[in-house]
């Protein structure tokens, strides 16, 4: 992973400093000094050894744009993303699963049709476009919500009031992401529950005279939720990197906006550091998904 990350950025882009200042009138010796200060005048091999050593010490280099250490920039961008995406991931998992259960249990009724087509429509639009529409509708036209950022500019509030202000700013981006993620959970829950519904043990449960709700909640749903749990865990790995365009739309100062800003540079050390973090997140959450799965479903133990 580290090797790939290093070469991906080095081999293809030959002269990041040149492209950073492309079109601007910068003296050649300034460029050379800059290259030297970023270690770009060394050979590839030297750079690679240097990169490995520094990464192990969490030194990811200096951002071309802000001239601050990449690690500090990334660390300060983690909490906003974690808060925003965490809330959206939990809400969409809960609401999406519930909607999927209703759709499957009442299949081929108007409830099922409206849930299925509604989620498919949200699933088919670019998430940032949904964000743009919500932003224009609720923030620009109606003025109910702020147009972007994480706190009101120039505010000096602390404690609870600051937190409330942040939640107020979080509402629209969180709503956007929740709607965007919803569809997957609904469709997976629905098809998984439909699979389970043909099973004999549900007939047995009904034959015992159990009420419909009890059959659903105690017998059908727990068995249908396994794929949903896996999906949730895997999605958590991708959510860190999933909100890039949406964060850019709402100027949410998290990892996504940092990525969007780094692309415009291009700020290669920053992109490299972000990519490393995103990959690490996916690997960690995949591991968690595997562990929860074998804990929930003893049949797969040792697989």
């Amino acid at each position: 992973m580290l090797v790939f990350n290093f070469f991906l950025f080095r081999v293809v882009q030959t002269d990041p400093i040149g492209s950073l200042f492309r079109g601007r009138n910068v003296p050649a010796e300034t460029l050379d000094n800059l290259r030297a200060s970023f270690g770009l005048d060394q050979s590839i091999g030297t750079q690679f050894v240097f990169y490995l050593r520094e990464t192990a010490q969490l030194n990811l280099g200096i951002s071309y744009q802000s001239r601050q250490p990449v690690w500090d920039e990334i660390v300060s961008a983690i909490p906003p993303t974690l808060a925003l995406v965490g809330v959206a991931a939990i809400l969409s998992a809960v609401i999406g699963t519930a909607a999927g259960i209703v759709a499957a249990w009442r299949r081929n009724t108007w409830k099922d049709h409206s849930i299925t087509s509604g989620t498919m429509i949200f699933y088919s639009m670019p998430d940032f476009w949904l964000g743009m529409i919500l932003l224009v509708g609720f923030a620009v036209v109606l003025g109910w919500f702020p147009v972007g950022g994480i706190v009101t500019a120039g505010s000096t509030e602390t404690g609870i009031e600051r937190l409330l202000d942040q939640l107020y700013h979080m509402f629209l981006p969180a709503l956007t992401l929740t709607l965007a993620y919803l569809g997957e959970y609904t469709l997976v829950t629905r098809s998984s529950l439909l699979d389970v519904m043909g099973e004999d043990y549900l007939t047995v449960a009904r034959a015992k005279g159990l009420r419909d709700v009890r059959v659903r909640n105690r017998h059908a749903v727990p068995n249908a939720l396994l794929p949903v749990v896996t999906l949730t865990a895997i999605n958590f790995g991708f959510v860190l990197s999933g909100a890039i365009a949406v964060e850019a739309v709402f100027s949410w100062p998290g990892l996504g906006k940092a990525t969007a800003d780094a692309i415009r540079g291009p700020d290669l050390p920053m992109l490299q550091g972000l990519f490393l973090l995103f990959s690490a997140a996916v690997i960690v959450f995949n591991l968690i998904a595997d562990l929860t799965y074998s804990w929930l479903d003893p049949r797969v133990e040792g697989a």
Binding site: M125, F128, V136, F238, I263, R264, F275, N286
Partner: protein
């Protein structure tokens, strides 16, 4: 012999079409898709390509930020260009990139899946390890990184989408090849002395074709949405403006704070319609290829 195979294939196609026609969601999707494909093909008839140039728009005396009421049919943007012209010509780029990237995705995925499933052994192990590795890398960040190091160009975008989204196809097709390989007619062909190539092209391929096709239709939405996101993040081709590029320009130039809804609404609706159309068609094909799925749907 070959005429017999042709007849059989034509009969299969006819049967699929009959089943497809009876599905309402499939027909809606097909109708919407045809409409947009026609629009993309007829772009020169619907809007003058010169309308895309700000110089031409200025010479024409177009107003700036005109709403649809002031400038027919869809208003103008910050540099006086007609939004309708951008919408019509953008459909070409978006649909083309979506289809081309999907062809690449499916080609890589099918080759890896078939080779891995059919050859087996060490080749299979190596290919599957590679597939897993690509599955673990976060897809969008990898696409972003590749696109930003390769440069802003339509072919690079197609390459990036193709190279990042083939693994799930490869896994699906490998699984299908493994089951087809166990079937009796494969053993029979082998005992009659058929070569590996012959078995793959005459026995394996026809039996995984339906799956490949359904998978391809379902991969187009992902390709189109990825292209849109990449363009929105500023990685699109400046000389071939897709719908995503239109959305980026609208966003960057403040269409939202101006409430210039006519600038960013059409492109997004176009993406929504095309993506939904492909999804509906894909789901219908999937149900036909795998009847077990259609229960209750």
């Amino acid at each position: 012999m070959s005429t017999l195979a042709m007849q059989r294939r034509r009969a299969t196609a006819g049967r699929v079409w009959t089943q497809f026609r009876s599905s309402r969601q499939g027909m809606i999707g097909l109708g919407v898709l045809l409409l947009f494909v026609l629009m993309a093909l007829a772009a020169p008839l619907l809007a003058d390509a010169r309308e895309l140039s700000p110089v031409f728009a200025r010479a024409q005396g177009n107003p700036q930020w005109a709403s649809p009421g002031e400038f027919s049919p869809l208003g103008t943007d910050h540099i006086r260009r007609s939004v309708w012209a951008q919408f019509v010509w953008g459909s070409r780029v978006s649909i083309f990139v979506g289809l081309a990237a999907t062809v690449l995705t499916i080609a890589i995925g099918s080759v890896v899946g078939i080779v891995s499933g059919f050859v087996g052994g060490r080749v299979d192990a190596v290919l599957m390890r590679l597939t897993e590795w690509f599955l673990v890398i976060p897809f969008l960040p990898l696409a972003i990184v590749l696109a930003s190091v390769l440069g802003r160009n339509v072919w690079n975008i197609i390459f990036v989408i193709g190279i990042t989204s083939w693994p799930s196809t490869a896994r699906l097709i490998r699984a299908q090849v493994l089951t087809v390989k166990q079937r009796l007619f494969v053993d029979r062909a082998r005992s009659l002395g058929a070569s590996g190539g012959h078995i793959v092209s005459h026995h394996i391929l026809p039996n995984v074709m339906g799956l490949i096709l359904a998978n391809a239709t379902l991969a187009v939405p992902i390709s189109i949405l990825t292209e849109t996101t990449l363009s929105f993040l500023g990685l699109g081709d400046p000389s071939a403006a897709s719908w995503g590029k239109t959305l980026e320009e609208a966003f960057v130039n403040g269409a939202m704070t101006r409430n210039a809804w006519w600038y960013f609404l059409p492109a997004g609706l176009g993406i929504l319609a095309v993506v939904l159309a492909f999804t509906l068609i894909g789901r219908t094909l999937e149900e036909i290829a795998n009847p077990r799925l259609s229960r209750g749907r």
